[in-house]
Structure formats: structure tokens, C-alpha cells
């Protein structure tokens, strides 16, 4: 658990980058909500960092992970909603962004219940392995979707 602070920092960068990636494709109103969510996430993150610094060093910051996942899912749903306005059906299924958002959506929606527990070992004991297996399946699923997207998408349909 010595390197867990690295994961905590990674989460901050990861969520901000992913939100930024989808942010550009949001509509006018959705952009305002998007900014609000990103700010809220950073606020929660730094609140935890400042007031629970010991936790930051010793365990996964579950609040930030869960809130980050949920905010990201909301942003992805808003982006999919924006995509509905696009002309043809083919332009959606051949669009790389659609597949990336689908993969991330599946991963974050399924994994956040597992990451919401900071100390799996204490709480789950032997079942920790089972939880890891679930995570493995989800990661496999996400990457399958991403690979399908990379193979299936066409450049001319990208945004």
C-alpha cells in the first residue's frame, strides 16, 4: 500500500483528462453542467487531499473515485445525447469517439462499486480474489470494446 498515493494522483489526472476529452463535444447547456461537474470533482479531491492527508498517503480515496466515475458517466451520457443530433446511423457506429465512450462507460459504471471500498483486504478477506476477477472481466470487456472501435471506425466519420 506504499504506492497508493500514486494511484490517487493518477485518478486526478485521469478524470480531468477524460472529462476534457468529452467536454469539447458537448452542447452549450451541457458544457455548463460539464464544467460544474469537473469543478465539483476537483473540489472533492482537494478537500480530501487537505483534510484527510493521511488517507491520501495510505489508501485509495474512494469518494473521489466514485464521484469521478459518476460525473464521467453523466458527461458521457450528455455526449451521447449530443450525438443523437448527428445525421446518419453509420456515422455513429463508425465513429471512434462513440466506441471510446462506450468502453469507458462500461468500465467506470461496473468498476466503481469495487473501488468504493478502500480496503478490500480487511472487508472482503478471501473474497478479494473474486472482486479482482470481476475487475478483470470488466477490463477485458472495456478493451474488447475499444479494440472493436479502433478496427471498426473510419476516419471520415471522426469529429
Amino acid at each position: 500500500m506504499d504506492n497508493v498515493w500514486l494511484y490517487n494522483i493518477k485518478n486526478l489526472i485521469e478524470f480531468n483528462i477524460l472529462c476534457y476529452m468529452f467536454y469539447g463535444y458537448l452542447g452549450k447547456f451541457a458544457k455548463k453542467i460539464g464544467i460544474g461537474l469537473v469543478l465539483l470533482f476537483n473540489l472533492i479531491y482537494f478537500y480530501n487531499l487537505i483534510f484527510e492527508f493521511d488517507d491520501f498517503r495510505s489508501s485509495l480515496m474512494t469518494y473521489t473515485y466514485v464521484s469521478g466515475s459518476i460525473f464521467l458517466i453523466v458527461i458521457i451520457i450528455m455526449m451521447l445525447n449530443e450525438m443523437l443530433k448527428v445525421e446518419s446511423f453509420e456515422s455513429i457506429t463508425r465513429n471512434l469517439l462513440f466506441w471510446v465512450s462506450f468502453g469507458l462507460f462500461v468500465f467506470y459504471a461496473t468498476s466503481f462499486p469495487i473501488f468504493s471500498i478502500s480496503n478490500l483486504k480487511e472487508l472482503l478477506g478471501d473474497f478479494q480474489i473474486q472482486a479482482a476477477k470481476i475487475l478483470l472481466v470488466v477490463i477485458f470487456l472495456m478493451h474488447s470494446i475499444l479494440i472493436t472501435g479502433f478496427l471498426w471506425s473510419k476516419k471520415k466519420y471522426s469529429y
Binding site: I73, I77, L80, M83, L84, S88, F89, E90, I92, T93, F102, F105, V106, A109, T110, S111, F112, P113, I114, I117, L123, L124, G125, D126, F127, Q130, A131, I134, V138, L141
Partner: protein
């Protein structure tokens, strides 16, 4: 809580989220597909209505105006016989004019009539249209066919012709073109159509009229690629690429 219970809780939460996320995206895709289908149907219906209107106009021209002109032609022969000698050349001119009018009206009726186009095919119809322009001294025309033509279903042929006709009418209305080149290039399963005029041209990015939108919608309906390039004072070039579909043989 027992360890097992906690694990079950996590497992069920994950599973629910997984099902939720996958079903949401599936619904999204299905909705989009249905929307696309409806849009295509609407465009199809709109084009069918337009074709029906054109066909009615064509019948009307052929049966009504055409008949009146034919009767007029018959009368003119009678007038020619009975008129005094000094008036005969004038009546002769009148007869010529009536003949020209009959030819024009027939040509127009043919260009508008879908059934006629279905019978003679895309290339012949384009040729007739171009010869009409030439005859009316609208512009100089040239038609070029390369490669071995393959069969294109009637409904798609009509759509291709309507796109070309739209381009013709735009060239005459706005571009004041004096020259029109049409190339049909058949290569394997692909048909490339290039239509080029020497009109005033336009800024490709700026002008998006109903004509251009119609052309694009029609091309999209039959799955053809359409590209319109234009340069000010140099003319406009339309490129259509139609790829023969496997289902084309069935229809």
C-alpha cells in the same frame, strides 16, 4: 456484515451497473437506427411525390399542349394551301416554328417522364437532355462514356439523372454557363459521373442552397458519393461515385 454479504453487494451493484450501461448504449444505437430509417423513408417519399408531379406535368404537356400544337400544325397546312402566294413564305415560317415547338414540347415531356427515362436508361436520357440544350442554343455540350456500362436499377438511375438535371438547371439559372461536359466512366463495379460547366462558379463553403441540399440528400439515399467543387469564374464540377451493390441484380 459478513465478508460474503459485502462481496455479494459489490457483485450485484457491479452487475446492475454493467447491465444499465450496456442497455443504455444499445437503446441509443437502436433509436438512432430507427431515426435513420425514418429519415430515409421521408426522403424517399418526398422524391416519389416529386416524380409523380413531374410525370403528371409530362402527361399534361404531351396530351394537352402537344395535341393543340399538332392540330395547329394540321391547320397550318390548310392555311398554307389556301393562302395567297405572297403570304406563303410567312406561313411556311409559321409551320417551321410550330414544328420546333412540337419537338421541344415532346423533348420536355420526355425529360420529365419517369417511365420514359426508365425505358431509355440514364445515359440516353442525359444525352437527350444535352441535345435539347444544344438545340435551344443554351450551351455547347459534350457527352463521354468510357468502359462497359452495367445495369443500374431504375429507381437509382432516376435519382442519378435528377441529380445531374439539378446541376444542369443550376448551371443555366445561376452560372450562365456556355459549355457542359458530362463523363460517364464505368470501371469494374464503379460508375463515376463527372459533370463540368464553365460558368461563374461559387464559393464552395458559402453557398448551400436547396438545390445542393437536394442533390446531397438524393445521393445519400442511393448510397452514392457526391462532391461539388467550384471556383469563381472557372466553373463548377460535380462528381458522383456510384458503387454497384450486390442487391442491384435482384431488383
Amino acid at each position: 456484515m459478513e465478508q460474503k454479504e459485502i462481496f455479494l453487494l459489490i457483485f450485484s451493484a457491479s452487475l446492475t451497473s454493467l447491465v444499465f450501461s450496456i442497455s443504455l448504449v444499445t437503446l441509443f444505437v437502436l433509436y438512432h437506427r430507427r431515426k435513420d430509417y425514418y429519415r430515409k423513408e421521408i426522403t424517399k417519399t418526398r422524391i416519389e411525390i416529386a416524380e409523380q408531379t413531374l410525370r403528371n406535368i409530362s402527361w399534361e404537356i404531351h396530351d394537352n399542349v402537344g395535341q393543340i400544337l399538332s392540330t395547329l400544325n394540321l391547320y397550318s397546312y390548310k392555311v398554307h394551301e389556301e393562302s395567297p402566294t405572297e403570304l406563303k413564305p410567312k406561313v411556311g415560317e409559321l409551320q417551321d416554328l410550330i414544328q420546333t415547338a412540337i419537338t421541344e414540347v415532346r423533348g420536355l415531356s420526355k425529360a420529365l417522364n419517369t417511365d420514359y427515362i426508365k425505358n431509355v436508361g440514364l445515359i440516353k436520357s442525359t444525352e437527350l437532355e444535352l441535345s435539347r440544350f444544344k438545340r435551344l442554343k443554351f450551351m455547347d455540350t459534350q457527352l463521354n462514356v468510357e468502359g462497359e456500362p452495367f445495369i443500374i436499377p431504375d429507381d437509382k438511375e432516376i435519382i442519378l439523372l435528377r441529380i445531374i438535371q439539378e446541376f444542369f438547371s443550376n448551371s443555366m439559372k445561376y452560372a450562365r454557363a456556355t459549355k457542359m461536359d458530362v463523363d460517364f466512366i464505368f470501371k469494374g463495379k464503379e460508375l463515376r459521373i463527372y459533370v463540368k460547366d464553365n460558368g461563374v462558379g461559387f464559393e464552395s463553403a458559402e453557398v448551400v442552397g436547396t438545390g445542393i441540399i437536394n442533390m446531397r440528400n438524393r445521393a445519400k439515399l442511393i448510397g452514392a458519393f457526391l462532391n461539388l467543387e467550384s471556383e469563381i469564374n472557372k466553373g463548377t464540377r460535380l462528381e458522383i461515385i456510384y458503387r454497384k451493390k450486390n442487391t442491384d441484380n435482384v431488383t
